[in-house]
C-alpha cells in the first residue's frame, strides 16, 4: 500500500471556524478545571439515581460508535478486500483516534477517583466479570493501536520534511540572541528524519497485524458497551433490556461507522472545497442497509419473543423514543436501498445522517432515556455539563482541521481521479 495516495491539504490554519472551535474548547476545559477543584456535583446534574449522565452516554457510549469509521473502513478494506477505498482510511483513522482518545479523556473527567486508574494494570485487581473492565482495557489498547495506525502518516511527513518552519523559527531565535546557529541542531533534525525513514518500512511490515488488532478490539468492546447494561435488569426499560444487547451494540457501531464515514467525507469535501467522492460513498452505502436490516430484525424478533411488541407501539414516553430510533434507522436504510438515491450526494448525506441519528438515539435510549432507577429520580444535563461535552467535541473537530492541514491525510485528488479513470 503506497503512501502516495494521500496529500496534505494546503490552506490557512487560522480560519474563523478555528477561532470559534478554540473558544468552545477553552470554555469546556475551564469547566473541567472547575470540576476537578469543586467536585463533579459543581458542574453536573448527575445524582445517585442517575450516576451516569451525558458524559458517559454521549462521549463514551455514543462517541466511540461515531468514532467507528476507522473500524468500519478497516473491515471493508482489509477484510472484504476493497483496496480502492484505501485512500479514505487515513481520515477515518484520524477521526477514530480523536474520538477514542477523547472518550478516554472524558472517562478521566467523569470518574471520581481517576488517580486510582493504575489498578487496571495490576493483575490482582482485575475483575473479568465486569464488562467495564473489558471496555476500559480494550479502549486503552485500541487507542494505542489507532496511534500506531496513524504513525505512518507522521513518519511520511517527517521523512519528507525540510523543517522549513522550524528552521525559520530557530534562525529567528538565534539571531535575536545574536548567536550563530550551532550545527548540532541540523544534525539532530537529520537524525530524526533518518529514524523516521528507518522505522517506516519496518512498521509497514507489521502494520497489517496491528490493523487487524484494530478490528478485533472494537468488536470486543463495542459489544461490551452493550453488556454494561445487562446488570441493570430492574432499571432498564424492557423495550431495551435484552440478552442481545452486546450483539445489538456491535451491529449498531458498524452501521454507524459506515454512515459516519460517508458524512465525514461529504462534510470535509464540502468544507475543503474538494470534489465529492461519490463513487466510493455510494459503494459504502450499499453495505449499510444490510447491516441495518439484520439489526432491525434482531430488535423486532427479540421484542416479539419477549412479548414486548405491544409495549413498543403503546405510544407512551418510552415507546415514542423507541419508535423514533427505529424509524430513523429504518428510514435512512430505505433511502439507501434505492440505487438512484445512492448516486446523489445530497441523498447519501441525508440517509447517512438519519442512520447515525437513529443509531445514536438507540445508545441514548439504553444508557439514559430507558434507564429508570425508581421513583423520585430525575436527570437532565446541566449547562456546564453540556458545555464540557461541547468543548471536547469542538476540540475533536479542531484537531482534525489542523492535522489535515499539516499531515498527508486526505486522499490525493490525482490518485482518485486516476482510479476513477481506470475503472471506467
Amino acid at each position: 500500500m503506497s503512501h502516495d495516495e494521500y496529500q496534505t491539504y494546503r490552506a490557512k490554519i487560522l480560519t474563523p471556524s478555528f477561532v470559534v472551535l478554540l473558544v468552545l474548547t477553552l470554555i469546556g476545559f475551564a469547566l473541567i478545571a472547575v470540576r476537578f477543584i469543586k467536585g463533579i456535583g459543581a458542574v453536573s446534574n448527575m445524582n445517585d439515581g442517575y450516576p451516569w449522565g451525558i458524559w458517559i452516554t454521549y462521549d463514551v457510549a455514543t462517541g466511540t460508535a461515531i468514532a467507528c469509521g476507522g473500524y468500519a473502513m478497516a473491515i471493508l478494506i482489509y477484510i472484504r478486500n476493497r483496496m480502492h477505498y484505501h485512500p479514505m482510511i487515513r481520515s477515518a483513522i484520524l477521526t477514530s483516534m480523536f474520538g477514542y482518545g477523547l472518550a478516554g479523556f472524558s472517562v478521566m473527567v467523569d470518574v471520581g477517583r481517576p488517580w486510582n486508574a493504575y489498578n487496571f494494570f495490576i493483575p490482582s485487581k482485575w475483575q473479568a466479570n465486569s464488562a467495564m473492565f473489558e471496555v476500559a482495557v480494550c479502549v486503552m489498547a485500541y487507542t494505542t493501536v489507532l496511534l500506531l495506525e496513524f504513525l505512518p502518516t507522521v513518519l511520511t511527513a517527517l521523512e519528507k520534511t525540510q523543517w522549513k518552519t522550524l528552521q525559520l523559527l530557530l534562525d529567528m531565535v538565534y539571531s535575536r540572541m545574536g548567536m550563530e546557529r550551532p550545527e548540532r541542531i541540523g544534525d539532530r533534525l537529520d537524525k530524526v528524519k533518518d529514524l523516521a525513514a528507518w522505522l517506516k518500512p519496518r512498521l509497514d511490515k507489521v502494520l497489517i497485524f496491528i490493523i487487524v488488532l484494530g478490528i478485533t478490539l472494537p468488536t470486543m468492546h463495542q459489544s461490551s458497551l452493550g453488556s454494561l447494561l445487562l446488570i441493570a435488569s430492574t432499571k432498564l426499560h424492557p423495550l431495551w433490556y435484552t440478552g442481545f444487547l452486546p450483539l445489538l451494540f456491535l451491529i449498531n457501531c458498524m452501521f454507524i461507522g459506515y454512515s459516519i464515514a460517508i458524512l465525514e467525507s461529504v462534510i470535509s469535501c464540502y468544507a475543503f472545497k474538494r470534489p465529492f467522492e461519490t463513487r466510493e460513498l455510494s459503494g459504502i452505502a450499499r453495505i449499510i442497509p444490510w447491516l441495518t436490516i439484520i439489526w432491525l430484525s434482531v430488535v423486532i424478533g427479540d421484542l416479539a419473543w419477549r412479548g414486548q411488541l405491544a409495549a413498543a407501539v403503546s405510544f407512551d414516553f418510552y415507546s415514542r423514543f423507541f419508535l423514533l430510533e427505529f424509524c430513523l434507522v429504518a428510514g435512512g436504510s430505505l433511502l439507501m436501498f434505492s440505487g438512484k438515491k445512492r448516486e446523489s450526494i445530497r441523498w447519501l448525506f441525508v440517509s447517512a445522517a438519519l442512520i447515525v441519528l437513529g443509531g445514536a438515539l438507540y445508545r441514548f435510549n439504553v444508557y439514559l432515556i430507558g434507564f429508570n432507577p425508581g421513583k423520585g429520580w430525575h436527570y437532565f444535563p446541566a449547562l456546564a455539563e453540556l458545555l464540557i461535552t461541547v468543548g471536547i467535541v469542538a476540540f475533536e473537530i479542531l484537531g482534525y482541521q489542523v492535522i489535515v492541514k499539516i499531515l498527508p491525510v486526505l486522499p490525493k485528488l490525482h490518485t482518485r481521479q486516476q482510479l476513477d479513470a481506470e475503472k471506467a
Binding site: D4, Q7, T8, F36, K38, G39, I40, G41, S44, D48, P51, I75, Y78, I79, R80, N81, M83, V107, V111, G112, R113, P114, N116, A117, N119, F120, K125, W126, Q127, N129, S130, A131, M132, E134, T156, L158, K160, T161, Q162, K164, I208, I215, T216, M220, S223, S227, L230, I231, A232, T234, F244, P246, L247, L250, W290, V298, G374, I406, P408, H414
Partner: protein, 322 residues
C-alpha cells in the same frame, strides 16, 4: 460482485450472534450459585421499630472518620444542630423513614446495604474495589482502589451505593456492617448494638432466618407473611419483617435470580478462556494477509506500467511538509 466476501462478512456477525445464543442456552444449564447461611447479616423488624433513629446517629458516630461521613443540615436548621439527612447519601449509610398510609396505618423502615449473596456491585466493579468476604459475607468497599466509575450505583437494584458529588476527592459510601469499626471492637454492628427496642437483630443468616420464621409462626396476622431478602435477587443477608407490604416501604418487588448471574454468564460465554477473541483475531489476520498478497500481485503488474508516469506526478505534487 462481492458475493463471497459479503458472505464472509455475514458469517462474522453470525458467529457473534451464535456465541450469544449459546450464552442464553447455557444460562440454565450451568450451576446455580450457593447461598451461604453461615454469613453475617441483620434482621430488621419494622413492627418493633419506634423510629427513634438511634441507629442512624450511632452509625454516623462510629463510622464518620473511617467512612468519611459528615452531618447533613436541614433547611429549617440554620445553626446545624441536627443531623437531618433526607435520604441515603454520600454522608449517610443508614436511614430510618416513616411511611404513612393513614393515621392508623404506618410503618418505619430502615435502609442500608442488603449485603447480597450474589452482589451486583461486586460483579461489576472493574478494579475489585467492591468485594464480598467469603466467610463473613460482608460486602465491603475499598476507597484506595476505587476509580469512582459509579458502575456499582448503576448495578445495585436497591440504589444503595452513594457517591460524594460535592467533594473534590469523592468516594462511594455504603454500609459495610461496621467491618472496620464497631465489628473490630465489639463484634456487632453499631446500629444493632444501639437499638433500644431490639428491632435490629445481628447474627448469622441461618439464625436470623430461623428467628424470622418463628416470629411469623407465633404472631399470625401481625406480619405480612414474607421474609424480605430471603429469596430476593438470590438472597440477601439483610432481612426484613413488616406489617405493611414491602413495596410500600420502598423495597422493590424483585425476582429470585441475581442479575449478576445472567450478565456474567453472557460475558463468560463470549470471553471463555479468551478463545473467541483469539480465534477472531487469527481468522481476520489470515484473511487480511491473503488479501494483501493478492493485492501485491496485481499491483506489481500495474506498477511496471505506471512507474514512469507516477514519477512525473510525484515531482509535481511533492509532499514536503514544513
Amino acid at each position: 460482485m462481492g458475493k463471497p466476501s459479503r458472505r464472509q462478512f455475514l458469517k462474522l456477525i453470525g458467529a457473534t450472534g451464535a456465541a450469544l445464543m449459546v450464552g442464553r442456552g447455557g444460562a440454565s444449564a450451568s450451576e446455580e450459585h450457593q447461598v451461604n447461611n453461615d454469613t453475617l447479616g441483620m434482621l430488621y423488624d419494622a413492627t418493633k421499630c419506634v423510629g427513634c433513629k438511634a441507629c442512624m446517629s450511632a452509625c454516623k458516630r462510629v463510622n464518620s472518620d473511617y467512612g468519611s461521613l459528615s452531618y447533613e443540615k436541614a433547611t429549617f436548621d440554620s445553626d446545624g444542630l441536627w443531623d437531618a439527612p433526607e435520604d441515603l447519601s454520600g454522608s449517610t449509610r443508614t436511614l430510618i423513614k416513616l411511611f404513612k398510609e393513614s393515621d392508623k396505618e404506618w410503618s418505619y423502615v430502615k435502609y442500608s446495604c442488603m449485603h447480597c449473596q450474589k452482589p451486583s456491585c461486586v460483579s461489576v466493579c472493574p478494579v475489585s474495589a467492591m468485594t464480598r468476604d467469603k466467610i463473613t459475607g460482608i460486602v465491603d468497599y475499598n476507597k484506595n482502589t476505587c476509580i469512582g466509575c459509579r458502575y456499582c450505583q448503576v448495578a445495585c437494584a436497591f440504589n444503595i451505593p452513594k457517591f460524594q458529588w460535592e467533594k473534590a476527592i469523592p468516594q462511594i459510601v455504603k454500609c459495610d456492617l461496621c467491618k472496620n469499626t464497631n465489628m473490630v471492637r465489639k463484634g456487632i454492628t453499631a446500629c444493632a448494638e444501639t437499638c433500644p427496642v431490639g428491632a435490629i437483630m445481628f447474627g448469622k443468616r441461618k439464625d436470623l432466618l430461623d428467628e424470622a420464621k418463628k416470629r411469623l409462626a407465633e404472631n399470625p396476622g401481625r406480619y405480612v407473611n414474607h421474609i424480605y431478602g430471603e429469596k430476593e435477587l438470590g438472597g440477601t443477608n439483610h432481612l426484613y419483617l413488616s406489617a405493611m407490604p414491602f413495596k410500600k416501604l420502598g423495597l422493590p418487588v424483585l425476582k429470585h435470580e441475581a442479575p449478576a448471574e445472567f450478565s456474567e454468564k453472557i460475558q463468560h460465554t463470549i470471553y471463555k478462556g479468551f478463545i473467541a477473541p483469539v480465534a477472531l483475531y487469527s481468522t481476520l489476520c489470515f484473511i487480511a494477509v491473503k488479501n494483501m498478497k493478492k493485492g501485491r500481485a496485481s499491483e506489481d503488474e500495474e506498477q511496471a506500467l505506471k512507474n514512469s508516469e507516477q514519477k512525473k506526478t510525484e515531482t509535481e505534487h511533492g509532499e514536503d511538509v514544513e
